[in-house]
Symmetry: C2
Subunit: 628 residues, 2 copies
Amino acid sequence: MALGQGARAVLRPLPVGGVRFEDSGFWASRVAVNAHTSLAAGYEQLHASGVLENLRLAAGTAQGAYHGKLPFLDTDVFKWLEAVAWHLQTAGDAAPELARQADEVIALVAAAQDPDGYLNSYVNVVRNGERWADLPSGHELYCAGHLIQAGVAHRRATGLHTLFDVARRFADLLVDEFGEDGRRVGYCGHPEVETALVELYRETDERKYLDLAGRFVDLRGSGLLGDRPFGRRYFQDLQTVRETRALHGHAVRALYLSAGVADLYLETGESDLIEVLRAQWDDLLRGKMYVTGGTGSRHRDEALGDAFELPADRAYTETCAAIAVMQWAWRMQLATGDATYADVFERVLYNGFLAGTALDGEHFFYVNPLQVRPDSTLGPQGRQRWFSCACCPPNVMRTMASLTHYFATFDADGLQIHQYASASIRADVPARMGVDIQTDYPFDATVRIEIPAECAGEWTISLRIPDWARAEAQLRLDGKPIDVEGQDYARLRRDWRGGEVIELELPMQPRLTVADPRVDDARGCVAIERGPLVYCAEQVDQDADLDRLTLRGAARDGERVDIGGIPVPTVTIPAAHAEAASTTAWPYRQAGEEPAPPTDAPPTTVTTIPYFAWANRDYGAMRVWLRV
Amino acid sequence: MALGQGARAVLRPLPVGGVRFEDSGFWASRVAVNAHTSLAAGYEQLHASGVLENLRLAAGTAQGAYHGKLPFLDTDVFKWLEAVAWHLQTAGDAAPELARQADEVIALVAAAQDPDGYLNSYVNVVRNGERWADLPSGHELYCAGHLIQAGVAHRRATGLHTLFDVARRFADLLVDEFGEDGRRVGYCGHPEVETALVELYRETDERKYLDLAGRFVDLRGSGLLGDRPFGRRYFQDLQTVRETRALHGHAVRALYLSAGVADLYLETGESDLIEVLRAQWDDLLRGKMYVTGGTGSRHRDEALGDAFELPADRAYTETCAAIAVMQWAWRMQLATGDATYADVFERVLYNGFLAGTALDGEHFFYVNPLQVRPDSTLGPQGRQRWFSCACCPPNVMRTMASLTHYFATFDADGLQIHQYASASIRADVPARMGVDIQTDYPFDATVRIEIPAECAGEWTISLRIPDWARAEAQLRLDGKPIDVEGQDYARLRRDWRGGEVIELELPMQPRLTVADPRVDDARGCVAIERGPLVYCAEQVDQDADLDRLTLRGAARDGERVDIGGIPVPTVTIPAAHAEAASTTAWPYRQAGEEPAPPTDAPPTTVTTIPYFAWANRDYGAMRVWLRV
């Protein structure tokens, strides 16, 4: 998921390896769990679910029926391979078993490829090789996109060509089929191949891949996908991309498409594209994103809702949609340099995305609600090891394995730090630049940034002041305060000698957040935020029925509690039991006839924990929005 | 849908024809639209959708492919026939065209029947006659149930045997297949046949039909349906009926099953059944019913939600679920005599049910939300003429055509009036009893009840005081007040001479209703009710953006407005424009940082109309719950 260098990028990604998390830090620990637990669990699941066997069926080296029902199960393999590739880049020779597993799986993928480059086990096994017969729902180009991304990642991370060559041969076939002089006119019901093709262009400098991505974007909205049960909006086929100023339909499809369009802009610089992307982004933020950064309100068609349609209990907020927002936000940030994209990236990263995986690294949420009612029968009750549609777990794995890519950028002027973690960051272009960061972020207030001696010279370091901290953040350079009030990036240009220490102090007191009254489930409620973290209350931490509690006072830091091996800061708020109405037989009554509060209910305290840590203990009632 | 006489009924339905709506009244007009417009439109749709042609295909008198995709399309025909039958009972010889159409359609049904009595066009045409191969989803017994109900209705209403004999032959086959000594053990994924079989027992006095209904009820919950994607709760197969104290899963299935169990109780008197039904009813009312009487919160699996999971915009609240509640409530009322069932019946009738049909009688809602957001993309945008799954329209038609059946009952003591309409009501058992009612209910306060001379004698008239009126209702007999405070039924036993006039005055001032704070979408809001009607605000009546209005004052009666030919009373409330937050780019902000109200926004007034009349003019934003 790391990006190559976009021609029109305002900010540029560091080369792979430019950011290294330090072992003691929050993210180093999360990434290690991904590397050591999730990737191994993923390898097991690829075997257990039969998706590797499907490749053998396609290769003709095994006999039997296709495993699973969905046409895109090959992508479980491709996304896992991409994740392993990024990890191998970090681990080098220290992960021989994963390297061996990757080679084994790549051999299976290569064997399943048809002589002309086509590769799709579902089509070859279930559809008897009938290709491109169902562009709206068949996911063939979507699968190709994930193969291409995995191939590019594997080459970038390891220098090996084994998977890359397979992917490129398929991409060449796509150009022959769907290019301007190709045999077909069409595009995929599930966008994804667009970002992949732009990346392949960056990796190869072959214009034809960029042109094909552009062609898919140009054609989209011409109605070629037909009007399936959920309608043309479902797969972004009602309007052309350049007409689309509001996002609708299946959330992951809509967001992957916007990420692909942003990639296209990064290479072409077409102003219409960035203008429409900004409008779409504004539409998303205005009323289609949860406070957790989650998107996608509807279970029925996995769709973004209408503006302000953001139910808490029935939030769909697929983990993949969080990842899609991160991909799009990152590309927008490269394209514009605006802090808003890093702000939203942070919100999604620490909340909507991170909650999708158990802290043990081997249980996953597909759906990430903001509320679970007491005794809810909604399933599944807690995170699962795998899914019959297992798009999310390997998507998490590849994101975690490449997470360093999203923390910093460079430009002609210097280095930009967008997210904070204990890390060592280095860049050699335009000069040797770098910082060493020590922090207990996201839990603690202080980010300590040291300029290493090897990075002496004149360059600018830009430090993002998160949106939630902009009024109170404090910055010191070698102990001397620097005024950063209201700035989105603190930009320090110095002739660094090495050894300078910059301290960024961010306000970590709990904040109470309210929502626009049109966000119905949040009306009369607050969410608790602390630093970049959104908090929630779980039943297991309360001494009364969570749904009967009403906040009555100020939020303050509580004890740290150990959840999944992490000592997370809690936030507590005084509360009262709700009215006795909760026991009545009919939940509606005449206004003004509210029953008196029970006199025997003692005051209590609500204890909240970071949302990302929920459902790691007992699975029960949970709320992000708490009544006041 | 009229019921025969249940052996254990506390109250008994009047014979068919016992209640006649008077031409000038609200319900006479609605029923006339059903008879003259809806039934004709239904006949056209039976042709246009191909469901009649499907019967010809099954009979071998036509060639071609099955029309539609669903396995239960025969029920469109059966429900329409049931509706026509009830109408013919009222209209007698005055509807020769409908009678001719019914005979034509009955002939098609009869011709499609197999020699052994089996009848299902989908199975015979699409599944090559492979019967009972898919009890979880095949709907074969469901279809049989609707055929039986139509056959019973046709015989009861017209005295004709043509359809009844077809139905009974199929029922005899069901006994052979699924009875205690039958060839199979199983039950249908969609309950419905249970009520039908009990009715057939009442019509024939053949115990085997009752026994078969009982067997289906006894077996249910043993897991024979397997664990389909939505789980065993979806079709009420997780627990036995006698263990089921909370309702879960597909709303219509759950409610039809409870109605069938109530029918079984009405004949067997098994105390375990009525006890569990009361618990289920309490569960439904405690947190699974909307203020409109709608039930079923979830689009994805058309299911009842968890307790208090009652979203306004994403309410599913299928029209058929409203009908199912009415069926169940009516049976509970017969079983117990408790006013609560008539109270809920009234709420559903005037709101959740009535809103499902346009006032023109030929456009229908399948889904009945309590809120439409501005510029919503949720479809369909307004009522439709028909649906690919057209369960609702003919279900409305048969309910409307038999609506008189639900208004009154009798017992050894006298006559009970449960719902109010201008009507003439007569019963001959145990004595000649009856009343003539004049009222502009549900719009006006006064119900005038006269005892006709022909009904002189000593008997009791019981008049339901609606739950919402119980504190303030006033009753006068020949002008003299009678204390009815707190009573659910005012019971007047007199030796009537004829000519006595009873006047019931119900409080018709607008009421503001609030919800339990766990009903999230309603928090910080009120609903407006007036008499039995729930109100809503439509954008078309407002002079500002509906979603930005906040109520600020008392509700009062407004002008009457003509909607669909009905002069409906409006209710108005002073309001203010909401805060300027509605234009911000991000809908969350720190508590206490609410922007000041815009100073240039003039005060305004929100105008509300009865919910049943919404979406009969411009289709746009609508809210039942209004912010205060």
